[in-house]
Amino acid sequence: MIDWLLEPYQYEFMRRALLVLLVTSVVMGVVGGFVVHKGLAFSGDALAHATLAGVAVAFVAGASVGLGALVAAVLTALGIGWTRDRARVSADTAIGIVFVAMFSLGIVILSRRTSYTPDLMSFVFGNILGVSGADVAGSAALAVVVLLFVGAFYRELLLVAYDPATAATTGVPAKLFQYATLLMVAVAVVVALKAIGIVLINAMLLIPVSTAALFLRRLPSIMAVGALIAFACAAAGLHLSYYAGVATSPAIVLVACAVLLAVLGVTSRRGVRLPAPAKAGA
């Protein structure tokens, strides 16, 4: 059993993979807490897809792919915030338009390259075994930024998430922190980009936290347990892919889905799930 657990880690690339998954899991738990409970799932997906444009431009220009993704994600987050405030179309329509445009731009640029297919696949579905030491360092640095930000301004983020109207009356710069929440999601997406891949990042933002929220009722504990669940699923998925020879990030997501279903089965049978709140009355 111990051998079965440790054998993969005789390889440097597997140790790096586990490390980057640890960093990613912590960020997915913390940022996922806001994404799930503020209903930002579509924004998270849009931000992930939009990074492809930045990745492609950086690829062609020979710049850092992570930096390109970060710039694209930040611009998209600002764009989403801006449309949410001013658009005449609904916010999700605007988000849908922006991210499809950015994703298409990325594919068009990458399709000009002869080695188009493998490169594209590695960003879209993740390439955890190809993660370099520099990738781990980059993800860890961004993760530290996100965690410090949440630690420093947790009360402001909570007030704005819970009740933006009243937050503004108590002197919280509500608009600023609504943008900051989106920027946080953008940075989280870049942390997970290389390991998980564009189309599956959202699953890691949503599934572990949703699982924790089935049996916990306060945001800090949901975030912490969400991060633990994310890492457990990530490690299990990594092993599964090592021994069964399947793609890593889809394996991780499938494990996470299985855990969610299992917890849902237990909590709904025991009636631990939160009762639907009464709408009115005493």
Binding site: L158, A168, T169
Partner: protein, 284 residues
């Protein structure tokens, strides 16, 4: 509501007009969205210390604009708003706002105590979180509204009446002396309304001043020291029995309302049949 359960204000109305006994003073206020006709035009009103003032008017009368200006969230085009004699922007800690209950995300994973502590926010304290004093004040406020046993519960598990109490506790925890309540009675049954009114009356007796925006005319008639009828301008202001008359309500709502002055706890909007048959119909 039964007669003996009615809530008759017994605090002496304050006649004098200086800062010491004025919680909120709105002077010739004109405000609204930029580029639109002003939502309120030349509005002047006063909330005396220790009184409950009911603000009534139709949808779009400018109640929320008046609230926003009173909270310092919008710049008036003309006029000014003073809280305890100072501009509202300088007295944020003195004023607490209670939003309509459905504006709050009750599914959010926060405990009742978490919500009440939010009222204690006074500015950033990076990495420090809430202080012991914040926690103590929040627990005391929860005790004040009778919800101390529920501190650890998820806020969304509580009933409609209890949710109002959570939000009122948040205002109390803030230490605010002026409370602006937006539609606190909506969707509550008569018994729960009565309990909430009794709580407000206690808070007023302690010297807190309360401005309530509401569509519930019977609550204003029964429990407010003053009523203000707003429809872009102040139509009338004064004691409820003098203000909630058929003529004034008709002028305020721009359609005919049927008031029953002797009881004052049943006021209802006349339906079309009344409009056609009532002798004293006032043409629009």
């Amino acid at each position: 509501m039964a007669l003996e359960s009615r809530h008759v204000p017994d605090r002496a109305p304050l006649a004098e007009h200086h800062h010491a006994d004025t919680a909120l003073e709105v002077r010739h206020l004109t405000a609204g969205h930029p580029g639109m006709p002003p939502a309120i035009d030349d509005v002047s009103l006063r909330v005396p210390v220790g009184e409950i003032v009911g603000l009534i008017g139709p949808n779009g009368a400018g109640k929320s604009t008046l609230f926003k200006a009173s909270l310092g969230l919008i710049h008036p085009a003309r006029g000014e708003v003073l809280a305890f004699g100072r501009p509202v922007r300088d007295s944020r800690a003195e004023i607490a706002y209670m939003p309509q209950v459905e504006e709050v995300d009750w599914e959010f994973p926060v405990s009742v105590l978490d919500v009440v502590m939010m009222g204690r926010y006074q500015g950033p304290r990076p990495f420090l979180g809430w202080s012991r004093a914040d926690r103590a004040a929040a627990l005391a406020a929860l005790g004040r509204v009778g919800l101390a046993p529920y501190a650890g519960r998820q806020a969304g598990q509580l009933s409609g009446g209890q949710r109002r109490r959570i939000l009122i506790a948040r205002s109390i925890a803030r230490g605010a002396r002026l409370l602006l309540l937006d539609e606190p009675f909506a969707g509550l049954d008569a018994a729960v309304q009565h309990d909430l009114l009794a709580l407000m009356d206690d808070l007023a007796s302690e010297g807190r001043s309360i401005l309530i925006a509401t569509h519930d005319l019977s609550c204003v008639a029964n429990s407010c020291d003053q009523a203000i009828c707003l429809n872009r301008r102040v139509v009338a202001a004064g004691q409820p029995k003098n203000v909630l008359t058929e003529a004034i309500l008709t002028a305020t709502f721009e359609r005919h309302l049927l008031a029953i002055p002797q009881a004052m706890d049943i006021v209802r909007i006349a339906d079309d049949e009344h409009l056609e048959t009532h002798e004293q119909q006032v043409p629009r």
